[in-house]
């Protein structure tokens, strides 16, 4: 059964259709969070073309994320990064059977509406693109299409869930090929979950109220999450994953799955690497299989990667304070 803490039953995105066989509901929390459940233990790959999307599907990806440029190229290009061309998104939707996601800018309600109208399966309100409104994220309850959002901490994750996100991913530092930040973020979320679980188990409601104030979210959501001891929605790792070992390590930290951005299609061995990362994600707890997967890739063909400390643009900070 699905945990539904924090859901709003008055959401505008919930639609009732009437049929002879009875009424149906669309856009409910069960359907949105349930969609994310079907991705668990899988790899979502960033793609920019039909060809890349087909490589991803053949490699065993559970979904593709369509962007105009891969995150590392967004970094190089500078300027304003916006949602991808609708025509490319539609071409990709027509050529693969797996779900297709696309990114919109943080707070850009109408890019999201355009993506919903295009019928993408999930919208990523993403810090990889240039934020449109950093103080107000999209109120995602208004949409029938589910959203995924990035988070660096438990409080950020809960704020996004309270706004209607059906899935969370760590932010990491996109486009760097450096997994360090993703590891930091997932460990931080895990530590914070453990600590609110301890408070819940001790029965100290006053302390939970204090946490809700600190997190700037409702008490009910904090209480439910503390009781569960995990986020009430599916939680993936993202940002800087470049090798099978990166993916397996993040799975071992309790992530439900993996997003790979620039790591695959900016490497020179994209096909093998895509397959290898899927294998390592599926069989992360069998070290022999992770080794086999790692052997499929050539380190000399990995993307060069960037040291996060020297970056001028830290995408992870976008939209974090709101």
């Amino acid at each position: 059964m699905l945990p539904l803490s924090g859901e709003r039953i008055d959401a505008k995105g919930i639609i009732t259709d009437k049929f002879d066989s009875g009424d149906i509901l669309r856009g409910t929390s069960t359907l949105k969070r349930g969609f994310a459940h079907m991705l668990k233990n899988g790899v979502v790959m960033d793609v920019t073309t039909v060809e890349q999307a087909q490589i991803a599907e053949d490699a065993g990806a559970v979904s593709v994320m369509v962007l105009d440029k891969l995150p590392s190229d967004v970094r190089k290009a500078g300027g304003v990064a916006r949602t991808a061309s609708i025509r490319i998104i539609e071409d990709i939707m027509d050529s693969v059977t797996i779900p297709v996601m696309a990114k919109c800018r943080i707070g850009h309600v109408y890019e999201a509406k355009v993506l919903e109208e295009t019928d993408v399966d999930m919208i990523d309100e993403s810090e990889v693109l240039t934020p449109a409104d950093e103080s107000h994220h999209i109120w995602k309850w208004d949409f029938t299409t589910p959203f995924v959002n990035g988070a660096r901490s438990l409080s950020e994750a809960l704020r996004r869930i309270e706004e209607g996100a059906a899935m969370i991913r760590t932010k990491g530092e996109p486009g760097t090929g450096n997994v360090a930040e993703a590891i930091t973020h997932i460990k931080k979320v895990n530590d914070e979950l453990r600590s609110i679980k301890t408070i819940y188990d001790s029965g100290d409601n006053q302390d939970l109220v204090r946490m809700a104030r600190e997190f700037k979210v409702s008490y009910d959501l904090v209480e439910e999450t503390a009781k569960l001891g995990r986020l009430p929605v599916v939680n993936f790792a993202a940002g800087g994953i470049a090798t099978p070992a990166d993916a397996a390590y993040l799975m071992s930290l309790g992530c439900d799955g993996i997003f790979v951005g620039s790591g695959i299609f900016n490497a020179d061995d994209a096909k093998e690497r895509a397959r290898a990362i899927v294998l390592a994600t599926t069989f992360w707890n069998e070290s022999e299989k992770v080794k086999e997967a790692q052997k499929m890739i050539d380190e000399r063909q990995s993307m060069l990667g960037l040291d996060v400390k020297t970056l001028e643009l830290r995408m992870q900070e976008r939209g974090s304070s709101a």
């Binding site: 059964m1 049929f19 059977t97 029938t144």
Partner: protein, 205 residues
Amino acid sequence: MSLTVGVLAIQGDVHENIMSTKIALQELGEEGTVVGVKTADDISKLDGLIIPGGESTTIGQLSLVNSSLKIIKEKIEHGMPVLGICAGMIMLSKTANDRVVGKTDQPLLDLLDIKLERNSFGRQKESFEAEISMNSINITKFNGVFIRAPSVSDVGSGVDILSKFNEKIVAVKKGNMIGVAFHPELTKDVSLHKYFVNLIKKSKK
């Protein structure tokens, strides 16, 4: 008699099916263990298997890699009950077509004589919850959670239709195989999981 029920743990909604099956065993007062299974060795010990929802292309390809597909097929042919949910029903089928993309060459178990249409109701925005019934197995009211769901466009001889929604076939059964297009593990109602546990119990006698 203790039952060992497995949930294929390659990809998808594994944990929720383990939980629903545990509750079903409890409510029926049956002894048993429920485990996530990946390897041929784990699968060989099972009395019953649930193939959960997820992405059928991913589950198919990866269970081919570690040769679990072969043993699953053998076990089912020898009478082990199997419940295929959404992607799991696609895995059981003989042929699967995508509504938009057309014929797919994904690995299937090729056991259940049904023709499958993938993503039959449309993309995620068209995913829906609806009340359905499976009267022939005494489940008269069930909240069907359909997520990018497939439907059965044609059934071969001896395949029972358990449920239809809007003229589309959404649940079927043939002998020890059950296929459903919706997700019982996402609801509180464990009646279908209970029915499946009883089917396993009968097959062991």
